[in-house]
């Protein structure tokens, strides 16, 4: 394993924060990431040469290794129907309200950012198909974005391990998945082809805007990795791509800072949600 000294680790930590928004605090940097980064560096084409690696990353001379490094740093823990009370809130409260506000024929657009390997966005799609009568009345456009290219590839492939689908009721599992091996399930083709997944960094405002405007943004368990400044920046970006009265749903441990008046914090069903003012 290549040994990376404390100063170099901190330089790399600042670069990661700038590039991805993810801020690694001193204790995690030392206890968890020092060893992992050392291993990554040793196995990379730079064979342990930190300066060569760092220079290639900062000056973006090696986009392949940069993408691999971003994939390596990001956290991708998720599964189907995770914190499903928020999906209940979506179909029982948010969608009926938006239906009353939007023009007839206007589609409802939902963004999952970051979407990781797609479990959240597919869960939303299944909830809408199963529990919302609005699917008979309106089109829905569901988009997932993530900075990690390997996760987007996995989301598009739509094949998951048993552990990932364990929370899905059996009848729904049978309707939307095909068992392809002892431990893997594949999302039904029509559903897979109806959703969009893109590699995109939430800090890139222009790419985010290019996606269009949204009625609902799900951004769960990403902001906890950001520092205050980046958190505000991303929340403002979400605000700018939400339609009037659109909703932002965050993870249970996350919140819009109290002094940011862009959103109204309300309780709908079992969920705390943020409505654009």
């Amino acid at each position: 394993m290549a040994v990376v000294n404390e100063g170099d680790l901190k330089r790399l930590r600042d670069f990661i924060a700038l590039k991805t928004g993810i801020y690694i605090d001193d204790s995690k940097l030392e206890k968890i990431y020092a060893k992992k980064i050392g291993e990554f560096l040793k196995q990379s084409r730079y064979a342990g040469d930190f300066n060569a690696f760092y220079s290639a990353m900062v000056f973006e001379k090696d986009s392949k290794t940069l993408q691999e490094f971003i994939n390596f740093i990001t956290v991708n823990e998720t599964y189907f129907f995770r914190e499903s009370y928020q999906f209940d809130t979506l179909v029982e409260h948010i969608l009926p309200e938006l239906d009353g506000l939007r023009e007839p024929g206007e589609s409802i657009n939902i963004l999952s950012a970051p979407c990781s390997s797609g479990e959240e966005l597919y869960s939303i799609a299944i909830y809408i198909m199963e529990k919302s009568s609005l699917i008979k009345k309106r089109d829905f456009s569901l988009v997932g974005i993530d900075i990690d290219s390997s996760m987007i590839e996995k989301a598009k492939r739509g094949v998951y391990r048993h552990r990932s689908v364990a929370k899905i009721p059996q009848d729904i599992l049978n309707r939307y998945f095909k068992k392809v091996s002892n431990d893997s399930y594949e999302i039904e083709k029509n559903l897979r082809e109806s959703l969009s997944f893109e590699i995109l960094n939430v800090l890139d405002i222009y790419s985010l805007r290019r996606l269009g405007s949204f009625d609902v943004v799900f951004s769960r368990n990403m902001l906890i990795y950001f520092d205050d400044k980046k958190r505000r920046e991303v929340i403002s970006s979400f605000y700018s791509i939400l339609k009037p009265n659109g909703y932002l749903l965050l993870g249970h441990a996350e919140k819009v800072p109290d002094d940011m008046s862009l959103f109204e914090r309300i309780k709908l069903g079992e969920s705390i949600v943020y409505r654009k003012r």
């Binding site: 589609s107 657009n109 799609a125 809408i128 198909m129 699917i135 008979k136 009345k137 309106r138 089109d139 829905f140 456009s141 569901l142 988009v143 559903l191 109806s194 959703l195 969009s196 405002i205 222009y206 805007r209 290019r210 996606l211 269009g212 405007s213 949204f214 205050d228 400044k229 505000r232 920046e233 929340i235 403002s236 970006s237 605000y239 700018s240 791509i241 002094d259 940011m260 008046s261 862009l262 003012r277």
Partner: protein, 182 residues
């Protein structure tokens, strides 16, 4: 009706100053998405003076929270020109509390301004102090906090002196500074 790919949103991106200018000069009179895109243009092209001047003129007293928040969230660098800094100082002292506090957050986050100078005459309340305490890693913040501590100590001494004289007519226990040995 069904699940479908793609959204119908139009992307607004200004390429020239004059295209964006009109939306900044009259933020209240234009659709929000145009104004936000005009702010993007101005921030990316470092037109801070024009941006701040208009923000202050239109929202110096009240309102504009969405534009104030968006603008300062998009600011990735500290403005260095004296004309920009002067406008930041004006905004810090404005009647619009949202504007004032958001500029305060911006200059603390920047960690590139002498806060003893920038925050002169700014009324520092509890939420300012709470924010400063979270950013003690910045030298300018530490220096400003030292100054606050020194001033507070002077104030406390004055108050205690007042109570010392006042309590001469009462029991010492009625003096709130009794435990301080005054």
């Amino acid at each position: 009706m069904a699940l479908k790919k793609g959204t119908e949103g139009k992307v607004i991106r200004f390429m020239e100053f004059d295209e964006a200018r009109v939306y900044i000069e009259n933020m209240k009179g234009h659709p929000e998405n145009f104004v936000l895109s005009a702010i993007d243009y101005m921030v990316d092209h470092k037109e801070y003076y024009f941006l701040f001047k208009n923000l202050y003129a239109q929202f110096g007293d009240s309102g504009g929270e969405e534009y104030i928040e968006y603008l300062f969230s998009r600011m990735k660098r500290c403005c260095e020109r004296s004309q920009d800094t002067l406008l930041l100082k004006k905004m810090l002292l404005s009647l619009n509390e949202y504007l004032s506090f958001r500029v305060f957050i911006y200059i603390v986050d920047c960690c590139g301004y002498d806060l003893n100078d920038m925050l002169k005459n700014v009324k520092i309340g509890r939420r300012h102090l709470e924010y400063l305490l979270k950013h003690g890693e910045c030298g300018y913040v530490r220096s400003f906090m030292r100054q606050i501590a020194q001033e507070s100590e002077k104030n406390i001494e004055t108050v205690c002196e007042f109570f010392r004289i006042y309590s001469e007519n009462f029991e010492p226990k009625d003096n709130p500074c009794y435990d301080r040995g005054n």
